[in-house]
């Protein structure tokens, strides 16, 4: 694996889960939990004659950004699509729990705990959700992650980063929605139902899953940025993601609440207004929505380079 300095310049999109985990925190500070040495692989895959990975396709651990303990969960799309099973799910759930427990302990010992010491969690999503080979255990793990995210509210910020090949879909799509902050590159994709399933449900005329541009317009980073479903869009290097994370963790926990998309009555009421717009517009393409928010030539946004896009794009005018 490349060293930390080389990783910074690497494409986030092309990086493995372990590279992302190492590269997103300060140099030389990452400690992995349940590393491949522990050989905690899925007990359910061999029953079906499937190969295992000794990390079960997920890298978890803790590092530092400055003085702040930053817990990291990083999913590996190359292993069964980054899917979540019993072992990987437990690693994810417990990483958030360790962060919250650590915060409770630090706060009990020092009621004036400075913000710069408050633990944070970064989740680098690359997953289609539940691992079908152990579907029921994977499903139950998803519920546990949501439970931990709610436990972390007001204590430990959870930052979702999405810019890897598989994107973030299925049950992990709403896990990502439930985080405090989402950072994406234009190559990141976020949704609930993957493109193939929509095609299957609605027919190819309505949604052609093979149409890459359409898929990106519907779930890609630029679209999610326009919709305010992603808070920050960055370029495709580990350093860009890392710099944005370093900025985000400076935000106080109370202000962090203002970056959420969901998680309160007020936010539900705001989202309902967006759904009213969806019902009224019945857009056949995301471009209709981009135009509605004031982007006069929406078709030009798709291929626009990052800097220019950030300069000209008009986003959904969020009320809260």
């Amino acid at each position: 694996m490349a060293n930390w300095d080389d990783l910074q310049k690497s494409s986030f999109l092309e990086s493995s889960a372990r590279e992302r985990a190492l590269g997103l925190v300060d140099k030389g500070t990452f400690t992995e939990f349940i590393s491949p040495i522990d050989r905690m692989s899925s007990p359910h895959l061999p029953v079906l004659g499937e190969a295992v990975e000794f990390d079960d396709g997920i890298v978890v651990g803790v590092g530092l950004i400055g003085k702040k303990p930053v817990f990291v969960v990083s999913q590996e799309g190359k292993f069964i699509g980054g899917s979540v099973g019993e072992v990987g799910g437990a690693k994810m759930v417990n990483t958030i729990k360790l962060a919250v427990d650590m915060y409770d302990k630090m706060k009990a010992e020092n009621p004036d705990l400075p913000e710069e010491k408050r633990p944070a969690v970064v989740v680098s999503f690359e997953t289609g959700g539940v691992r079908l080979h152990e579907a029921n255990a994977g499903l139950l793990a998803h519920a546990e992650v949501m439970d931990q995210i709610q436990d972390a509210r007001g204590k430990v910020p959870i930052i979702g980063v999405i810019g890897s090949k598989v994107g973030c879909f299925g049950g992990m799509g709403f896990v990502a929605a439930a985080t405090d902050v989402i950072i994406m590159s234009e190559f990141g994709r976020l949704g609930l139902t993957g493109p193939e399933v929509i095609e299957q449900e609605l027919g190819k005329e309505e949604f052609d899953a093979g149409n890459r541009a359409l898929v990106y317009r519907t779930t890609g980073g630029k679209h999610k940025y326009i919709m305010q479903d992603c808070n920050f869009m960055v370029e495709d290097t580990i350093a860009s993601f890392r710099d944005q994370i370093a900025e985000v963790v400076k935000i106080s926990i109370d202000e962090m609440e203002g970056l959420r998309r969901i998680g309160s009555l007020e936010l539900v009421e705001e989202q309902i207004k967006l759904v009213e717009l969806a019902a009224k517009m019945q857009p056949s393409d995301s471009k209709d929505v981009w135009a509605h928010f004031g982007n006069e030539k929406p078709e030009e946004l798709t291929d626009m380079p990052y800097d220019e896009f950030m300069k000209v794009v008009k986003r959904y005018p969020k009320q809260s």
């Binding site: 029953v47 803790v62 650590m102 709610q150 709403f174």
Partner: protein, 295 residues
């Protein structure tokens, strides 16, 4: 017995559970949903159960959402999920000042085949809608509201995650009443994982981890109790509300909800490695924690 299934009959199930004629639909605390075309696949309201106010949230499989055509047969679409979340947040708000043992229970009646799978849904973010509802339930649970989910029909994948799996305790009718609890039918699992269907079918009779059905979810700790008869649902829900209240009054919030079901999964031996992973992680973390705390 005349009726052999409650699949598709969420409204009928409400009447079988609550005190007679006590259901006030579309009203929860300050909330009054007046637009009948809003989220018709979700039934929300306030009822009396054993003489106390409860919030009821159910699916209406007979309803069709004209604005969002993928929403029918009990599918939870964007409007439905937000409507359900409104019911929960308004329950929390209504009882803000009440002590833990007086927080109103929330009863989820589960019969849903999935979340809205459409293009408009993806453009506007179906994931936020289901995520909202889950966070609202988790918040209500942690604030003391006892939440019981009763699976009367289909409890499928993401829709079950959103409407069911954030409850304190989950009850289900057994499979002879056509209940279905799973992520995907075996035929789809076979196709996607490129496994032989016959082999999967054979394995699924004994392996709870991907098999379909309430009894397998029971072994995994995915639900607390199987309720053998329709007419036992009411009393079982009432007794589980009492049990949950006892845990919460004693501050034992970890005994219920998704975490509690993790413990149950270990106890019932259906999810044996989960707890080993957690234990080993704790050990590894403890050996380095000081370095990160004092950095």
């Amino acid at each position: 017995m005349e009726m052999e299934t409650l699949v598709g009959q969420g409204r009928e199930a409400i009447n079988m559970i609550i005190d007679p004629d006590s259901f006030q639909e579309n009203v929860v605390g300050d909330l009054k949903v007046e637009d009948e075309s809003f989220g018709p696949g979700a039934v929300i309201g306030t009822a009396s159960l054993n003489g106390e106010d409860v919030t009821v949230i159910a699916n209406d499989a007979m309803a069709f959402n004209e604005k969002f055509p993928v929403v029918f047969a009990g599918v939870i679409g964007m409007e439905e999920a937000y409507k359900m979340a409104l019911a929960v947040y308004n329950s929390i708000k209504a009882d803000e000042d009440k002590p833990v043992d007086k927080k109103r229970p929330i009863v989820l009646i589960v019969d849903t085949p999935g979340n809205g799978p459409g293009k408009v849904e993806e453009i506007f973010g179906m994931n936020k809608a289901t995520g909202s509802y889950q966070l609202s339930l988790a918040e209500a649970r942690k604030k003391g509201h006892p939440i019981v989910a009763m699976v009367i029909g289909r409890a499928i994948s993401g829709a079950f995650l959103c409407h069911g799996l954030q409850a304190d305790q989950i009850l289900a009718l057994p499979k002879q009443f056509q209940t279905m609890i799973h992520v995907m039918p075996l035929t789809s699992i076979a196709r996607i994982t490129k496994q032989d269907l016959e082999r999967l079918e054979e394995l699924s009779t004994t392996n709870p981890v991907f098999a379909s059905g309430a009894d397998f979810f029971y072994q995994l700790g995915g639900l607390e109790e199987i309720v053998e008869q329709f007419d036992k649902m009411r009393e079982k829900i009432i007794s589980h509300i009492g049990e949950i209240r006892n845990f919460k009054s004693a501050g034992q919030y970890e005994k219920t909800g998704p975490w509690g079901r993790g413990l149950l999964g270990a106890e019932r031996e259906g999810r044996a490695v989960r707890s080993k992973v957690i234990e080993q992680m704790q050990k590894e973390f403890d050996s380095v924690a000081d370095k990160y705390i004092s950095a």
